[in-house]
Amino acid sequence: MAGGTRADARAAAIPWYLTAVLFASTSVIVGVIWDISWHQTIGRDSFLTPAHIAIYLGGIAAGIACGWLALKTTFGGTEEEKGRSVKFWGFRAPLGAWIAIWGAFAMVTSAPFDDWWHNAYGLDVEILSPPHVVLALGIMAIQVGALIMALSWQNRSGAEGERNRRLSFAYLYGAGMLIATFAVLLTEYTYPNDMHASPFYRVTAGAFPLVLFAVGRAGGMKWSATVAALVYSGLILAMMWILPLFPAEPLLAPIRRTVTHMVPPTFPLLLVFPAIAIDLVLARTGEGGRWKDWGIAAVGSVAFVLVFLAVSWFFSEFLLSPAARNYVFQADNNWPYTSSVGGWQHEFWNEDIAADGRITAGAFAAGAWWAIPIGIVSARAGLMWGNWMARVRR
C-alpha cells in the first residue's frame, strides 16, 4: 500500500470474520490431510490428535465467527448491514455465514456419529464412510461459505484498487482450499498408478470442471481458475514437503512395511494446466448465456480432458520412475504401513481390459471418452454455479 494512511489501510483490510472463515477453510483441509497421513503412518489415534484438533478448530472458528456475525447483524446491525444479509428463521446474516454455520453443525453431527461408527463396525481404514461424508459435507460447506462471503464483498465493492485485489485473492484462496478438498476426497482414484486407466479421467472430469468453471466464471479476474489451481497445488506441496520431515512410526500390528516418517500425500494433480485452458476458453468466449454456456461447457470439457490427459499421462510415468523418488517429488513414499511392499507400487494399475482379457489402447479409449460427456455436464453445472456466484451480493 504505497503511501497509504491508516484510514486507507482500514478501508483496504478485509473484515475479520472473512479472515476467520478463510482460516477455518484452511484449518479443516490441513487437518484432513494430516489425519490421513496419521492413519497411514501411526495408525493409532484418539479424539485429541493434532490432526483432529486442526479439523475441529476450523469448525469452531467458522461457527463462532459466523454465529457472532449473525447475532450482531440480527440484533445490532445497521440498516445497511441488515440489507446485505439474508433471512434464516428470523435471524439475519450474509448467505456465506449461514452456509458456514450449517457446515459447522454438520461437523458437530459427524463427531458422535463417527465415534459410534468405529465402535459398531470397527475402526475404519477407508476415507469414505457415511460419517466421514457428513464431515466432508460440513468441511465443504465451510469452504463454500468462505468463498461466498468473499465474493459478496467483492461483488458489492465493484471498485478497483487494493481492497478489491485483496478480496479477489481471498476468494481465489478459498477456491483453492475447496479444490484441495475435492482432490482429497478422490485420493483413492488419483494415485499416479491410476493415470493410465480410464476411471481416473472419468472421475476427474466429473469433479474438477465443476469447480474450475465456477471459480473461473465468478472470479472476475483473467486467470481465476489458474490461480485457484495454483493455491491448491501450493497447499498440497507444502503438506507433501513438511509432513515427511517429522519422524513417526506405526503403533498398530500388523505392520507390513517400514515407515519412519509421516507419510506425505502424493504429488498434486497437474490441474494448473487444464485450469489455464479453462481460463483461456472463458476469456475467449466472453459473456455466457443459457445455450451459449452449453457450447462453452462442451469446448471446455474437451480442453480439460485433452490437456489433463496429456500432462497426467506423461507426468505419471515420471512419478513411477526412480527419478522421482526423492524429497522434491516424494514418489513411492506414499504407502501406508498396512500395505505390503511389492512391484505394484511402481506399476500402472490398468483396469481397461478388452474382451480378450488384454489391456489395450482401444479398451482405454472406450472407457476414457466418457470423460468428455461427463466433463460437459460438470462444466455446465460449474458455469451455472459461477453465474450465480458472480451476482451474489449478500
Binding site: 434464516f88 453443525f105 500388523p254 505392520i255 451480493r393
Partner: protein
C-alpha cells in the same frame, strides 16, 4: 453302516464367539522369568478394535511391564509395533493395565514382558481376533442424531431458499413476488435433492450394517451323527461348511498331539466325555462312542488351524439305545470284521479318551465341595465363595489318593489336569488348562512362527500318531509341557478363569492316576 441324523443346532449354541463357546475373555497364568503372573485379555467385539489387557504380577522389584501384539503372518521384529507400557492400576500394588488395537481378524500373539530386579522374562498369549457383534445405536445418541439431521435438513432447505430469493439483490432491495417464488422453487428442488442424498446415505449405511452383520464370525458348520460301523458304535463329525469344503480355511494342526479335542456333554449334564476323534478324510472325523448312556448330547470340538486360529465347532446329536447297546456288545473298538479300507483303524482305542456319568457334586453354601473318583481318591474344590461374573478367579482343586497321600498324579496329555466348564443351557463352554483358557496348539504354532518356522504342514497325512507334521513337544502323553505342571504343591491343580456370564454351571475336572483318566464334576452358580 448306519449313521443317525444329527440334531439341529440349538439357538443357544449359536452364541459361539471364540475359540470357546460363549466366552471371549482370555485368561493365562504363567511365569515371566521368575515372576508368576496372570494375564487377562478382553478382546474387542469388532475388528479393528481395542483389546483390554490386565497383568497381575507376584514378586518384588517389578520395574516395567510391556505388552506387544504380533499378527500371525509377521514376526515381532518387523511386523509388530514397539511394545506398549502397561501402567500400574491406581489403588493396586500388582495390577497393570494396557490397551492394544487388534487391526485384522485372525490369530494374534500378545507378548507380555516383565522387567524387574528378580530377573524378568516374556510370556506369549495367543488371542483370536474376530468380529462378534454389531453395536446397536443407543437410543439417546439416536435421538441426538435425529435432531441434528432434522436441523441440517431444514437448514439446508432454508439456505437454498434464501440463496435463490435474496442473495443476488442489492442491500436496498427487498425480494419481490418473482424473487419469492424463485425462493420457493429452490426450496422444493433443494429439499428433494437433500432428501434423495439423505436417503442414499441411509441405504449406504444399511448396506454397511448388513455387510458387518454377515461378516460376523461363525464357527465351521459341522454335522454330528452317532451310529455303528462294523458293529462298533461311533460318533461321526462331518465338516459341512462350504468355506472349508472350498478350501477357504487353512488346514488343521494337532493340539497336544490330537487333531481334535472333543467334549461330549449330555443336555442334562448327567454324562460327559473327553475324546479325540481322528480324521477319516479331509472333511470328516470319527471316534468310538464312549461308554455313555443314550440321550441328547452337545458336541464341542476344539480345533486349531495352521495359522494359530483356534475355534470350537458345535452340534447336537441324539444317541439312541441301539448305539449304546452295540458299544456294550463290542466293548469298545475291537472288531472281527475285515478292514480293507482302514476305516476301522480310526476307532482304535485312545488311552487319553475318558468318560463320566453320574451327578455332579452340588455346591455347598460354604466350605469345600468333595468329589470321589472311581479309584477311591478324592478331589476337593477349595472354594472362596461363589464365583462372580467377569472376575478373574482361580479354580483350585486338591487331590488326595485312597491312601490319604496327595502324591500319585500323573501327567494327562502333558499337564496335571484338564477341565471343562459349561453353562447348563450350553451357551458357555470352555476347555481349561492350568495355564488358563488359551489353546496350547495355537500357542505352539504362533511360537514356531515367531522363530521363523513357517513350514507348510499338511493336516491329514496318515493314521493317527503318524503325522509328519506332528510336533513332538506338543505330543501325546510323552512329557510335561512347559509351564504346564500347574503348581509345585503336590496334589493341587489350579485353573485361572473368569466366568463370562451368570447362571448355573458344571465344571468337570480330569486327572490321571494309575494310568486311568478320572473325572470329577462340580456344580456352581455364578452371580452377576
Amino acid at each position: 453302516m448306519r449313521i443317525g441324523r444329527a440334531g439341529i443346532l440349538s439357538a443357544a449354541l449359536m452364541l459361539t464367539t471364540s475359540a470357546h463357546v460363549g466366552n471371549r475373555n482370555v485368561v493365562f497364568q504363567g511365569e515371566a522369568g521368575s515372576y508368576p503372573l496372570t494375564v487377562v485379555i478382553r478382546p474387542p467385539e469388532v475388528v479393528p478394535g481395542l483389546a483390554e489387557i490386565s497383568v497381575r504380577v507376584e514378586g518384588e522389584g517389578v520395574e516395567r511391564i510391556t505388552v506387544q501384539p504380533t499378527y500371525w503372518t509377521t514376526a515381532p521384529e518387523d511386523g509388530a509395533p514397539r511394545p506398549d507400557i502397561a501402567e500400574l492400576v491406581a489403588g493396586t500394588a500388582d495390577l497393570y493395565a494396557a490397551e492394544l488395537w487388534l487391526m485384522t481378524a485372525g490369530a494374534y500373539r500378545v507378548d507380555v514382558t516383565v522387567e524387574g530386579s528378580a530377573g524378568g522374562g516374556v510370556v506369549s498369549v495367543p488371542v483370536t481376533s474376530i468380529a462378534t457383534t454389531v453395536l446397536d445405536l443407543p437410543p439417546g445418541l439416536g435421538w441426538v442424531l435425529v435432531g441434528l439431521t432434522l436441523f441440517l435438513f431444514f437448514g439446508a432447505i432454508t439456505i437454498f431458499g434464501a440463496a435463490a430469493r435474496e442473495s443476488v439483490l442489492d442491500a436496498s432491495e427487498t425480494p419481490d413476488r418473482r424473487a419469492r417464488r424463485r425462493g420457493w422453487v429452490a426450496m422444493a428442488i433443494g429439499g428433494l435433492v437433500v432428501a434423495v442424498t439423505a436417503f442414499g446415505g441411509k441405504s449406504w449405511w444399511d448396506s454397511v450394517d448388513q455387510a458387518a452383520r454377515s461378516g460376523l464370525f461363525q464357527p465351521l458348520q459341522v454335522e454330528a451323527g452317532a451310529g455303528t460301523v462294523g458293529g462298533v458304535a461311533v460318533l461321526d463329525l462331518a465338516i459341512t461348511d462350504p468355506q472349508w469344503l472350498e478350501r477357504g480355511y487353512s488346514p488343521l494342526v494337532p493340539d497336544h498331539g490330537k487333531m481334535m479335542h472333543m467334549f461330549v456333554v449330555r443336555s442334562d449334564m448327567g454324562a460327559f466325555a473327553h475324546v479325540h476323534p481322528v480324521p477319516v478324510d479331509s472333511a470328516s472325523f470319527r471316534v468310538a462312542w464312549p461308554d455313555l448312556p443314550p440321550g441328547e448330547y452337545r458336541i464341542y470340538g476344539d480345533v486349531v488351524h495352521e495359522t494359530g486360529f483356534a475355534q470350537t465347532v458345535v452340534d447336537t446329536v441324539v444317541v439312541d439305545a441301539e448305539v449304546v447297546t452295540s458299544r456294550r456288545e463290542s466293548s469298545g473298538a475291537s472288531t472281527a470284521e475285515p478292514d480293507p479300507t482302514g476305516a476301522l483303524a480310526t476307532i482304535a482305542p485312545d488311552a487319553d479318551d475318558s468318560a463320566w456319568a453320574g451327578s455332579a457334586v452340588a455346591e455347598p453354601d460354604t466350605g469345600p465341595a468333595v468329589a470321589t473318583l472311581p479309584d477311591g481318591s478324592t478331589l476337593t474344590w477349595v472354594r472362596d465363595g461363589s464365583p462372580v461374573v467377569d472376575e478373574p478367579t482361580t479354580l483350585r482343586f486338591e487331590f488326595v489318593g485312597p491312601d490319604g497321600s496327595p502324591d500319585g498324579l500323573e501327567l494327562y496329555m502333558g499337564m496335571l489336569s484338564h477341565a471343562a466348564v459349561t453353562r447348563r443351557d450350553g451357551a458357555v463352554f470352555v476347555h481349561l488348562h492350568p495355564t488358563g483358557t488359551i489353546s496350547m496348539g495355537s500357542l505352539g504354532v504362533l511360537e514356531a512362527r515367531a522363530e521363523g518356522d513357517t513350514t507348510f504342514r499338511t493336516n491329514f497325512g496318515g493314521p493317527q500318531g503318524d503325522y509328519e507334521f506332528m510336533r513332538p513337544e506338543l505330543g501325546g502323553d510323552g512329557g510335561e509341557m512347559p509351564g504346564m505342571a500347574g503348581t509345585d504343591n503336590a496334589g493341587v491343580v489350579e485353573f485361572p478363569f473368569a466366568f463370562p456370564r451368570d447362571g448355573d454351571y458344571t465344571i468337570w475336572v480330569q486327572v490321571k492316576r494309575g494310568g486311568l483318566v478320572q473325572t470329577a464334576a462340580f456344580e456352581t452358580t455364578v452371580t452377576d
